[in-house]
Symmetry: C2
Amino acid sequence: MKFKTEIKVIDGNPDLSFLLSENKKLFVTDENIFALKSLEKFFKNFSVLNKINSGNTQASLYSNKNNALIVIPAGEKYKTIDTVLAIIKAALAFSLTRKDIFTAIGGGVITDLTAFASSIYKRGAKVEFVSTTLLGMCDAAIGGKTGCDFEDYKNIAGTFFPADRLYVFPEFVKSLSDKEYISGLAEVIKTALLFDKKLFNLLETQKEKVLSRDSEVIYKMISLCVKAKTKIVKKDLTEKKERMLLNLGHTFGHALESRAGLGVLTHGECVAWGTCRALDLSQKLGLCSYDYFERVKKVSASYGYETDVVHKAFTDSKAILETMKNDKKNSSSKIRVILQRGLCKNIITEIEDEKILEALI
Amino acid sequence: MKFKTEIKVIDGNPDLSFLLSENKKLFVTDENIFALKSLEKFFKNFSVLNKINSGNTQASLYSNKNNALIVIPAGEKYKTIDTVLAIIKAALAFSLTRKDIFTAIGGGVITDLTAFASSIYKRGAKVEFVSTTLLGMCDAAIGGKTGCDFEDYKNIAGTFFPADRLYVFPEFVKSLSDKEYISGLAEVIKTALLFDKKLFNLLETQKEKVLSRDSEVIYKMISLCVKAKTKIVKKDLTEKKERMLLNLGHTFGHALESRAGLGVLTHGECVAWGTCRALDLSQKLGLCSYDYFERVKKVSASYGYETDVVHKAFTDSKAILETMKNDKKNSSSKIRVILQRGLCKNIITEIEDEKILEALI
């Protein structure tokens, strides 16, 4: 399977009217996006039709000539098989064929769910995304990973199914809460460290404009992230080699996220903290300089992330190590981590528990 | 995506003990196969563990060191999302990774469900098949189509996900009921007409041995079908071109199957009848000779299939035409059918309603 998403980064206020089509289409969004002032005009094109009940998911169905719209409840809580089936029910109600298009408008939850539903609908229909979050634009919406949660497992069911098209409107990030925006920034920092010195320089030198979401700066920042992520998933869509690099900070971060209790810390907070741990480990192993580690810590801290070795939200380092050992990405008894020799000099390796622990205390 | 299934056709009594593994594996079968005398020894390797409840599907879980076995209720009725999730629950209970193997032992329902579950488990684990029905060995288990039914729709959710390995034991067909065996034979006849003169000759000249399931003849017959099906799906896995040929008799057949009421006629009976209709249409359009049409009708009738233009199970030709128009494989307002100029001379085309109706009255 190949990554073949056509991506457009579009400046200015999001006008989605060009997405309405004479051909059949199913739009999928959530209640938060549906309520956005900036999309009021677009959603006014649709009239209420009825409700769709699928297990614990209650969705609303709207229509406009040949186009339908399903609005699902917002949040990770609804990233379930029930919601995937609600989307499929909507597609069946409108007799979509496998040549028709599912259009997701939203963040990672909506794009993951819609692409998963589309990938299994009649063994694979078409899907396109309008990403509305910083995390989505820079990471989740690029690379073909689809899925939903099941029981207590995150993204345990899913497919690799790249979207046909992705529309990125950087202006959408202005509608995000500070918490959501900052959470997304952690993946931007990670991307800069891995692949793009210019982007890292932007983050180091233009903090104020990044934080105030200056139009020019966010356009630049998001465009660079899109480019970097696209390059890596084109090389290795199914995460056999290079794509693993994108897990920088994630093995540490996921462990903290799950130990702190899901929902207590944002994904971004944990990734930023985990990235510092990966670089602390790198310098302790003599792979990178202490100065480089300090430089990364300084940038992270400047965006408000906790960078101290023992995170205040969960202080038991041994427990974090235990959780890291259960990560689904390990292939042997050692823990797989991404380390660095310096900016954009990346290493995929497996490390003994004792060494990992040294970077956690 | 490419078709990459390694297929072994194995003579003699099925001994599945070689499938037990030191590595983690999840076997999936149904209650009928689990009760087969010929597999008693194999299934004795497993001990009862517990029950898995998933919606309307109640399955039993067994284990044997690193290998687990889930036994699901038999029949199309259980070809549901609930059963797919039951299989995923079993895989999670045994902490299978995406490098571990799901092994389906059964007919088309079991192989379709297991491959679907495997294709979405952690975005794609490994899957292998032991096919136990004639229809499975010659058709369903080869070609990567996975899926389950949803609401009133057959195979509406699914993926393209070829098995890593397929083991074909022709001897299994001796355990099938006459009804099931004859149903499978219709796809054998279809395959012969499309791709293999030698196979058609075997069906014409060795009817008694085919019907008595003579070991040598069924081995030959199944091997030729496996070869023909493999060749076509290697060329066109996702049914964009040549693979459509496999629908010979199916547009007519599906319409009859659905109009007669699901479960009233076997899939094979309908396909055999539909194949005769496709050839009647071919000769009426001057594409093939009347003699060829008669020759095919004679062979079909010799295996007990209804070949008359008006099938006794459903006599309203116009209603059949209406159902054909709703077939998901049509791309325009015309009906797509597979026709022939003669044995192994195939045509994919679209035909006006009036012409189709002429072959139905």
